[in-house]
C-alpha cells in the first residue's frame, strides 16, 4: 500500500501495523462477547426472571446485517493483507541472493559475492535490504530472526528467497522454526549487523586463508586435524569437507553449536571431549581423544581467527 | 433414499473416491510439478489395458444378467452368467499380472522412482479395493 511506502516502513514495521489493526478489531469483538455474556448472565439469571421467557426464535434482519458487516470488515483486511504481502515478498525474476543459507543440523552460509563460506554466525551490513536464498541439505528447517524479517521454510529440493534488513547495528537472535530432529531446540541463529565498513572488513577477513598455526601445540593440533579425518567433514580453507560447519575462521565467532555455547576454550574442550554429552544427537562422533590431543586440537582450532 | 444398504454403499464409494483422488494427485503432481520424466506412462500399453478393462466392465454386465436371472429363478441362466462373470474377472487379473511382470522386467518397480511408486500404489490399491 502506498501508505506503507509513504511511511517508509520496514518489513517488520508493516507486520506490526497489520497486527495492531488486527488487535484493535479483536479487542472490539472479544470485548463485545465478554460484555454480553456477563451482562446477560447477570441480567437474565433465573432467580430474577419470573415464569417462562418469550420464545423468540431469531431475527433474520439482524443476522443478515451482522453477516454483511463481517464481509465488509473481511474485505478491508484482505486488501491490507494482500498489499502487505506484495511489499514484503516481491522477489525479482532472476534473484541474485546476497547470502545463500543451507540448513543442516547447523547453519551453512555462503556469500556469493566474494565466495565467503561460513557457518552459524551470520553477518550483515546495516541499512541494506539483503536477499536471502534458503534451502536445506537434509530435513525441513525454517529461518526466523523475528526482528529482521519474515519466517521462511528451508526445504530440501526447493530454493526459497526472502528479504532481510537490519536498520540498527547489533546482535539479533532467532531460531530454526520447523521441527528438524532431536536438537531442533538448540538450532538457534545469531545475526550480527554491522556498519558497512565493519562488514566489509569482516568479509575480507573471512576470505583470507586460514592462519597458519604458530605455537607447538597448535601445529600438533593441525596434524591431528588431518590425521583424525576431521577434514572429511570440516573445511579449513583447502580441504573439501562440507558435512560439518566450515572452520576456517572458527575463532572469529562468538558462539558455536548453532548459538548454543559461548566460543571459549573450556567449552570447545568439553565439546571435543564428548560431543554427545554436550548436544545429544549430533552427527559429530566422539573421537576418544587423549587429553594431550584435546589440548592440541583446541589450541589449533582456537587460533583460526 | 429409503434403502439404507444402497445408501451405505453409495456413500462408502464416494468416500473411497477421495482416497483415490489423493493417489491420483500424487501422480499428477510428480508429472506436472517436478522436473522428473514420467518413466511409467512411456511404458504402458493403453490399447492392451483398454481391452482388458472392457472385459472387466463386461463382467459387471454379466453379473447383472445373473442377478436378474436369479430373481426369475432361471437357475441355468444364472449359472452361465456367473461363470462368465468369473471367467472375465480371471482374464482381467491375468492381464493385470502380466502387465505388472512386464513392467518389473523393465526395472519399473515400486521402488524404482516416484512414477513407479505412485503407479503401483494407485493400481495396487484399486485392485485390492
Amino acid at each position: 500500500m502506498e501508505l506503507n511506502t509513504f511511511l517508509r516502513l520496514t518489513d517488520i514495521g508493516i507486520v506490526k501495523h497489520l497486527f495492531i489493526y488486527f488487535i484493535i478489531l479483536a479487542a472490539i469483538i472479544f470485548g463485545l462477547v465478554v460484555f454480553f455474556v456477563i451482562f446477560y448472565s447477570i441480567k437474565y439469571r433465573a432467580s430474577k426472571v419470573s415464569g417462562t421467557p418469550e420464545q423468540n426464535h431469531g431475527n433474520r434482519k439482524f443476522e443478515i446485517f451482522i453477516t454483511a458487516t463481517a464481509v465488509c470488515v473481511t474485505a478491508f483486511f484482505l486488501v491490507l493483507t494482500l498489499h502487505a504481502m506484495q511489499e514484503i515478498q516481491t522477489i525479482p525474476e532472476n534473484p541474485v541472493p546476497d547470502i545463500e543459507i543451507t540448513g543442516h543440523q547447523w547453519w551453512e552460509a555462503k556469500y556469493p559475492d566474494g565466495n565467503v563460506i561460513t557457518a552459524n554466525e551470520i553477518h550483515i551490513p546495516v541499512g541494506k535490504k539483503m536477499m536471502l536464498q534458503l534451502t536445506s541439505g537434509d530435513v525441513i528447517h525454517s529461518w526466523w530472526v523475528p526482528a529482521l524479517g519474515r519466517k521462511m521454510d528451508m526445504i530440501p529440493g526447493i530454493t526459497n528467497h526472502m528479504w532481510f534488513t537490519a536498520s540498527e547495528p547489533g546482535e539479533y537472535l532467532g531460531s530454526c522454526s520447523e521441527f528438524c530432529g532431536m536438537q531442533h531446540a538448540r538450532m538457534r541463529i545469531r545475526v550480527i549487523a554491522q556498519s558497512q565498513t565493519d562488514f566489509d572488513n569482516w568479509k575480507a577477513e573471512q576470505l583470507k586463508s586460514a592462519i597458519a598455526p604458530s605455537t607447538e601445540k597448535a601445529i600438533m593440533g593441525k596434524q591431528l586435524f588431518e590425521q583424525k579425518t576431521c577434514a572429511s567433514c570440516h573445511n579449513i580453507a583447502g580441504a573439501n569437507g562440507r558435512i560439518g560447519p566450515d572452520l576456517t575462521h572458527f575463532a572469529s565467532r562468538k558462539w558455536f553449536l548453532s548459538d548454543f555455547k559461548r566460543n571459549t576454550i573450556e567449552n570447545l574442550h568439553d565439546w571435543l571431549k564428548d560431543p554427545q554429552q554436550i548436544k545429544k544427537g549430533v552427527k559429530m562422533p566422539d573421537f576418544i581423544l587423549s587429553d594431550k590431543e584435546l589440548d592440541a586440537l583446541v589450541a589449533y582450532i582456537h587460533s583460526l581467527k | 433414499m429409503k434403502d439404507k444398504g444402497k445408501l451405505l454403499v453409495l456413500v462408502l464409494i464416494s468416500s473411497e473416491a477421495f482416497f483415490f483422488i489423493a493417489l491420483i494427485v500424487a501422480y499428477v503432481y510428480y508429472r506436472n510439478f517436478t522436473n522428473a520424466t514420467d518413466t511409467v506412462s512411456a511404458n504402458l500399453d493403453a490399447l492392451r489395458s483398454g481391452i482388458f478393462t472392457l472385459l472387466l466392465i463386461a463382467s459387471s454386465f454379466t453379473l447383472l444378467w445373473g442377478k436378474k436371472a436369479l430373481a426369475k429363478n432361471r437357475w441355468k441362466t444364472f449359472k452361465i452368467a456367473m461363470g462368465t462373470t468369473i471367467l472375465l474377472g480371471l482374464i482381467f487379473m491375468v492381464g493385470q499380472i502380466t502387465e505388472y511382470i512386464g513392467l518389473y522386467n523393465k526395472q519399473l518397480t515400486l521402488k524404482s522412482d516416484v512414477f513407479g511408486s505412485s503407479f503401483f500404489t494407485l493400481t495396487g490399491f484399486h485392485g485390492f479395493m
Binding site: P53, K151, I155, F179 | F18, A26
Partner: protein, 551 residues
Amino acid sequence: MSLFLDIPETEEQIPDLKTDRGRLGWMSSVDHKQIGIMYLWLALFFFLVGGLEAMIIRAQLSVPNNDLISPEAYNQIFTMHGTTMIFLVLMPALIGLGTYLLPLMIGANEMAFPRLNAFSFWMTCLGGLLLYFSFFTGGAPAAGWFNYAPLSEQNYSSTLGVDYYTVGLILTGMGSIGAALNFVTTTLTLRSPQMKLTMLPLFVWMLFVNAFLILAAFPLLNAGLFMMLIDRQFDAHFFIPSSGGSAILWQHFFWSFGHPEVYILILPAFGIISEVIPVFSRKPIFGYTFVAASTVAIALLAFGVWIHHMFAVGMTNTVNGFFAASSMLIGIPTGIKVINWIGTMYRGSIRFTVAMMFCLSFLIDFTVGGLSGASFALVPIDWQLTDTYYVVAHIHYVFLGGTAFAIFAGTYYWFPKIAGRYLSEKWGKWHLFLFVIGFNLTFLLQHILGIIGMPRRIYTYPVLPGWGTLNMLSSIGAVFMFAGVAFFLWNLYTTLKRPRTATDNPWEAWTLEWATSSPPVLQNFDKLPPVHSRRPLWDLKHPENPDKKLN
C-alpha cells in the same frame, strides 16, 4: 443364521457388568448406547494419558535449560500428546456422544448398521493400542503429530515409531469413517417419519454435516499415511526429495485432511453448545436456520483453506492470497454462531448449572481461539507467528477452550440420561473453576511467548527476557488443570456408586432423547410423542404456545 439382528424386547435392560455374561455382553455389543459409553470411557482413558504427557512437557519447560527429560524422550512425548488428544480423545468423545445420542434424538431404536458401529469402535481401540505399542518397540513416533517428511522418513526416523503412527492412524481413521457412514445413513433413513430434515436437533444436524467432512477428509489422510508407510517399508520415493519425491506433497495431503479435521473436531462441539444453552436459557436457539446454514458453509469452505498451514513454505503471493481470502471468509459463519448463542441468552431465564457454565466458558475462550486463528489469515502475521507458541496457544484455545469445554458441558448435561444419576454440581464447580482458571493461565500467556520469539516443539530454551517467567506461570496453570480433572474423576466415581434415580427429563429439555427413561431400555422407545416442530417435548408441555408447525 439370520442376517438380521433381533430387536430387543421393550423392558430389556442394558447388561450388568457384574456378571460374566454381562461383561461378554458389553464386549460383543452392537447396541449403540453401549458402544457410545465405551467410546466415552476410551476417550477418558486417553485423556488421562495425554494429560500426563502434557504435565511432563510443562514440567520440562518450566525453567530454561532444563534437563528433566532427554530431548529424545521429549520429542516422543510431545508427538504422542498431540496425536493422542486429537485421535484418541476428542474424536472418540465426540463420536461416542454422537453414537449414543443420535438415534435417540431422531426417535430411532438403533443405528442403521449396528455391527459396523461396533467395528468402528474396536478399530479405534486397536489403532490406539498399536500407536502406544510403539513405546515398546524402540520408541514412539517423534516427528510431531503432523509427521513432516523427510524427517519422518526411514533415514531420519529409524525406529518403528512412525510406522506405528501410520498404521495406528489408518485404523482409527477407518473407525471414524465407519462411524460417519452410520451417522449419515441413520439420519437419512431411520428418523421418525414425522421429522423432516429441517426439524433435526442441531446436535444431530452438526453430526450429520460433520459425517460428510469425515468421509471426505479421512481418506485423504489414509492415502498419505499409506504412501508414507510404503516409502518407509518398501523403499518408495513419494516424499523423499533426494530421490525425486516431494516433501511438500506430504504437507498438502496432511493439511487437506488436517484442516477439515479441526472442523470435524469443532462442529459436534458447536452442536452440544446449541443444545445446552437453549435449555438452560429456557428459550429456543436464536436463529436455527443461520446456525444450520453456517454449518454447511463451514463444511464447504473447510476444504478450501488448507494452505494457511503452509504460508511459510514459499508459495507465490497469488496462491497465498487466495487462501488468505478463503481463511478470512471461514471465520464469518463461525462468528455468526457465537452471536446466535449469545442471542439465545438474551431475555432468557438462565440457570447456572455446571453444564451451562462450561458453555459460558466456551463462548469466551473459543472466541479467543477463533480470533487468534483469524490472525493467521493475515499472511504477513503468519510469517512471523507460525510455528511459535502463539500457534500452540491458538490450538489449545480452540481444542480445549472449544471442543473440550463443550464435551464437559455435554457430559454434565447428558449424564443423567446416560447413567441415570446426576453428577454432583458441587464437585462439578470445583472441576470447572480449577480447570478453566488453570487453562487460561497456561495458554493465554503462550500468545505472548510466541510473539516474543519462542518457537514450538523445543525441549528447552535459553535464558531470555520473559521466557522463564512466562513458561513457569504456564506450567503452574497445568497444575490447576490437573487438580480440576482430579475433581472430575472423583465426581464420576462417587456418582456412579449411587443408585439410579434420574427422571426422564430432569432439565425440562425438549428433544426426543428426554422422552424415554434415564437410562433408556435397550429398545430406546416404547412409543414416540408427536413430532411437529424442532422441540416436540415443548409442544407437548405447552399446547397453548407450541413452536411453529413444520410438517
